[in-house]
Amino acid sequence: MSNEALAEIKHDVAGRKAVFERTVPFVQRATPWCMGCGYGALARAVIEEIEALKPKKMIATIDTACLEFIEAHLPCDNVHAGHGRAVSVARAVKKVHPDALVVAFQGDGGMLNEGLNEVMHAAAAGESICVIMGNNGVLGDTGGQFTVAAEPGLVTSSSPLGKNPKHQGMPIKIADILATFPTAAYVARGSTHDPAYAYRLQKMIRKAFQAANENAGFVLVDAVTTCPTGWGMTSVEAVRYAEHRIEGYYPVGVLKDWEHGEKVEMPSFISSTQRVEGMKTVPQPTH
């Protein structure tokens, strides 16, 4: 059957108004991801929230990973970063343009394998960047090898019998760790596998953008997504597996909440050389 004939098999929408419109970039262009990829719903949520927030200045930094294909669809200035480096590049951009909304897009491989160092430094520094992590447990771009975020038992091309914690260790739940940092403003975890979860994730992204735009502090949204290709499953099997992933390792929810007006304040300090009474040592010579 031709495409035109297939397209005719639809509901007659006469007299009805749209309650869910397709996000504009995707009307012309198909998404570049595999069928059933969770990044599709994530990209939709991100672009809709950018359009809702209407920031005056926004710059995105995108890691080298499956998520990099979002670049073409983003409406803002963007810069490509090497694998694992997107968060540091976002920090650097924020230092040059502190009044812009700066968002870093990174997968779990980029964040937990390659760039764990960098996201922790960024969080400890309280940089008001919004980091969105696409968490699917695999390095999708290279064919689906497991990452640090993969749970035990995940069968991938580099763990054909399932990821073995004896050799590879347990997953690092970075969102939980960063939520304990006093310099983190908003940390949340959502998922794209189910429509209700996808809707909640979109609301988390909305709040995340608002918090970063108001320079509240470090913001992280952990978006648990499905990778049917990497997991070797059909899309429906992948969303059913995702439920196990969420239940066992990545429960969704807001890990550190934020309200408008809240801001991470760095403490004031007294220099160490003034704290010691009657100090006899000579302080560092100035140049």
């Binding site: 059957m1 495409n3 297939l6 397209a7 005719e8 098999i9 639809k10 509901h11 007659d12 929408v13 009805r16 108004k17 749209a18 309650v19 869910f20 419109e21 397709r22 996000t23 995707f26 009307v27 198909a30 998404t31 991801w33 595999c34 069928m35 059933g36 990829c37 969770g38 990044y39 599709g40 719903a41 990209a43 939709r44 794209t192 596998h193 189910d194 429509p195 209700a196 996808a198 809707y199 049917p228 059909t234 899309s235 429906v236 969303v239």
Partner: protein, 79 residues
């Protein structure tokens, strides 16, 4: 899957769905999540070679579950 006698289908309930078959990659998530069984997979493929999801019933309630989960953002929902 009921045989289609007349297209386009005029829905009896308030909701209506339009799927862009050019972009559909046939992942079946909308079919899986639709609580009313309004959608099903077509046995035909589109130009890209993917079997696409199509509407097969007239009972859409415009719950938007299909559109929210679609990874290719090819569904528009009307009420």
């Amino acid at each position: 899957m009921p045989v289609l006698e007349k297209t386009p289908i005029v829905p009896k309930k308030p909701g209506a769905v339009v799927i862009d078959v050019d972009k559909c990659k046939g992942c079946e998530l909308c079919v899986y999540y639709c609580p009313q069984d309004t959608l099903a997979m077509s046995k035909y493929v589109n130009k890209r070679g993917n079997p696409v999801a199509i509407v097969v019933r007239d009972n859409c309630t415009a719950c938007m579950e299909c559109a929210r989960v679609c990874p290719d953002i090819c569904i528009a929902v009307y009420r």
